[in-house]
């Protein structure tokens, strides 16, 4: 059935809550009339207020609470309406959740899922727009999931909830309204494999989350110019599916890694580094990356115009890698709505 990404998240949560009485779901606004952009809407009515509940603005403590509940048999799912709010809970995530299995000699893991929503554009500004997947991916013991499609939103969320380790589940706000086919039932996607979205032999493009959408526009646009790129949607940032990336680079000999986070210290840099150090012989040209610049996202629409990586930038980078001119003007012309919104469905404020 075709649904939105947000509805698919809700479907995944409802499926998990129905499948296992140990699943609980909480976070600010979880049971309110907006239900976290519809992703938790009315779940408390179906599963009761003991399993689906609101919380005080106590992100740090409530993360530790989730860890404790998980150590005692539950599978908590905690939601933050913005990743930026979850920063208050870093100590619990990094020092407790990520380390528990290791520091007690493998006795017990922490099966928590922490949903964080990444904002962008329309005035989200410096503290409501951060895409910090690289921070979490840097921490041994955490898993990091970034779905792109509605199908993956459900499947990977179920995979995350029933995974035995702590999972940071990052949802890009600009994906919430995207439509896709979503299978019914308890469809748990294991946190293992990337997805090859388009096959090609010119350049391997590695993307995640909303970057995959921009990349898809670029890749499909370039086909008419005789350029067939291979597009990989990582889906899971840690553990990263290196075999899929390596196999593709061995075929194309060229790499363009995309990142919704900042350039310095980002996931794209890690991919470029790994390929350059371990698979140099496969490369026909220097691997490249495109990421958000090393400055915070400003609030004014005038300052976000050329901030994010868009389809035209990706197409141009492919052209540079191949040493040929590519046409992008018609690609830009297809966008009929302002640069700071994902489509006409979004008119603020969150």
């Amino acid at each position: 059935m075709a649904t939105t990404f947000a509805a698919a998240i809700r479907d995944g949560l409802a499926t998990a809550l129905a499948a296992d009485p140990n699943v609980i779901c909480f976070g600010l606004g979880t049971d309110d009339p907006k239900g976290v952009f519809g992703t938790t809407l009315d779940l408390h009515k179906q599963f009761g207020p003991e399993r689906v509940f609101d919380m005080p603005t106590s992100e740090a403590a409530m993360t530790g609470f989730a860890i404790g509940a998980a150590l005692n048999g539950m599978r908590p799912v905690m939601t933050h309406q913005r990743l930026d709010f979850a920063l208050l809970s870093l100590d619990q995530l990094v020092n407790n959740a990520a380390k528990w299995r290791f520091m007690f000699g493998g006795k017990r893991g922490v099966p928590i899922t922490i949903r964080m929503i990444i904002g962008r554009g329309w005035g989200q500004g410096p503290t409501h727009s951060q895409s910090l997947q690289s921070w979490f991916a840097h921490i041994p013991g955490l898993k990091v999931v970034m779905p792109t499609t509605a199908e993956d939103a459900k499947g990977l969320l179920l995979g995350a909830i029933f995974d035995d380790d702590p999972v940071i589940f990052l949802e890009h706000r600009w994906l919430h309204n995207m439509q896709g086919e979503v299978p019914a039932g308890d469809v748990r996607t294991p946190l293992g494999k990337a997805r090859v979205v388009r096959q090609g032999d010119a350049v391997t493009i590695v993307a995640m989350s909303y970057m995959t959408v921009e990349a898809l526009h670029a890749v499909d646009h370039l086909v008419a110019q005789g350029i067939a790129c291979e597009l990989i949607d990582l889906r899971i940032i840690r553990p990263l599916d290196w075999p899929t990336v390596i196999t593709s680079v061995q075929k194309t000999g060229r790499l363009l890694a995309l990142d919704s986070g900042h350039l310095t210290g980002g996931v794209a840099g890690e991919i470029v580094a790994r390929i350059a150090t371990d698979h140099f012989a496969s490369l026909k040209s220097a691997p490249q990356r495109l990421a958000a610049p090393d400055v915070p996202e400003a609030t004014s629409p005038a300052l976000t115009k050329n901030y994010h990586v868009r389809a035209e930038h990706i197409a141009q980078a492919v052209g540079r890698i191949l040493g040929r001119d590519v046409e992008t003007a018609s690609l830009v012309a297809q966008r009929t709505f302002p640069h700071d919104v994902p489509g006409t469905w979004f008119s603020g404020p969150f």
Partner: protein, 325 residues
């Protein structure tokens, strides 16, 4: 209270109300492109704080800060331009509605993460104490803030060091759509909870502007005299939706009757009626005030609309003190 203070109080409240209502009326034009939290219904506490604090006192606030910024004396033009994302905005368009600043009047900044400026406000007060400057630091906060760990850690340290901090809580009963009942146990008063840390606390009606001024005057004098921090909690009510320009009583998180009851207790006409009854002002004086305010707001919006956007290269500045980062 002297008549001049009463008039200023009413002026500030009318001004805040009119600014917020104008933003609400024009928000749909999609030129103010940033999350915006309006203070309609909550004007009294902000205006009272503005009346009690000195320009040299410092203040910080959170996401719902328009009223605090304006009451402290922040430039209206710079605030509206900031919400429009213009280079003439108080943060040159980088911050938007949730990140206001006007250092010239001691408004040191408002930020969007709940509780984020509470310890900053405590830090601001430390040099005041060490250098015996006679200033105080005012931390504006909502009722969700005494749920954050950083709030309690900050209050504790302020008490330990007897710092000149006014913690000023506007309790409007809600955090977004969540009533206090899902965040605090039944019967809990925030002021009593905080009193456990060993500081003077006060609880009062946040819609009675002159009562707020009276309470704060006494408290601020004590803080200034070196008696340490105090916590003031005033009950009030947000009329419009948590974020954005509309009314949202229809979505079902609060009773229309509750909203109507608070609206009956609208702090702005209440003060206006009292001042007229007491002969401090006439209807004509109020009309003059409103005309002055409307003219200023018209000018501020015209200024914001006609101001340029920041140049594109501004997106990459201000990250570090020097350009090399």
């Amino acid at each position: 209270m002297n008549p001049e203070t009463s008039r200023r109080l009413l002026f500030d409240m009318l001004r805040i109300r009119s600014v917020e209502e104008t933003i609400a009326a024009r928000y749909g034009e999609q030129k103010m492109r940033c999350p915006t939290h309006l203070s309609v219904g909550q004007e009294a506490v902000a205006a009272a704080a503005g009346a009690v604090l000195r320009p040299t006192d410092l203040a910080v606030s959170g996401h719902r800060a328009h009223a605090h910024y304006l009451a402290k004396g922040g430039s209206l033009k710079a605030m509206i331009a900031e919400i429009y994302g213009k280079v003439t905005g108080c943060a040159r368009g980088k911050g938007g509605s949730m990140h206001l600043v006007d250092e010239s009047v001691g408004f040191m900044g408002s930020t969007a993460i709940v509780g984020g400026t509470v310890p900053v406000g405590v830090g601001l007060s430390y040099p005041m104490k060490l250098n015996k400057t006679g200033q105080i630091s005012c931390v504006f906060l909502g009722d969700a803030v005494p749920e954050t760990g950083v709030f309690f850690e900050s209050v504790n340290f302020a008490v330990v060091k007897r710092l000149p901090v006014l913690f000023l809580c506007e309790n409007n009963g809600y955090s977004v759509y969540s009533p206090l009942s899902v965040r605090q146990p039944p019967g809990r008063k925030l002021s009593e909870l905080v009193a456990g840390f060993g500081l003077e606390t006060h609880h009062g009606d946040g819609n009675d502007a002159r009562a707020v001024v009276a309470a704060l005057s006494e408290g601020v004098a004590a803080i200034r005299a070196g008696e340490g921090p105090r916590f003031y909690e005033f009950e009030t009510y947000r009329w419009r939706e948590h974020c954005g320009p509309n009314y949202d009583n229809d979505i079902g998180y609060r009773a229309v009757a509750e909203f109507e009851a608070w609206k009956q207790r609208d702090p702005v006409p209440a003060l206006q009626r009292a001042l007229i009854t007491e002969g401090i002002m006439t209807e004509a004086d109020v009309a003059d005030m409103q005309a002055e305010i409307d003219a200023e707001i018209g000018e501020a919006f015209a200024f914001a609309e006609s101001s340029p956007f920041p140049p594109p290269e501004d997106a990459f500045t201000d990250v570090y003190a020097s350009a090399a980062g």
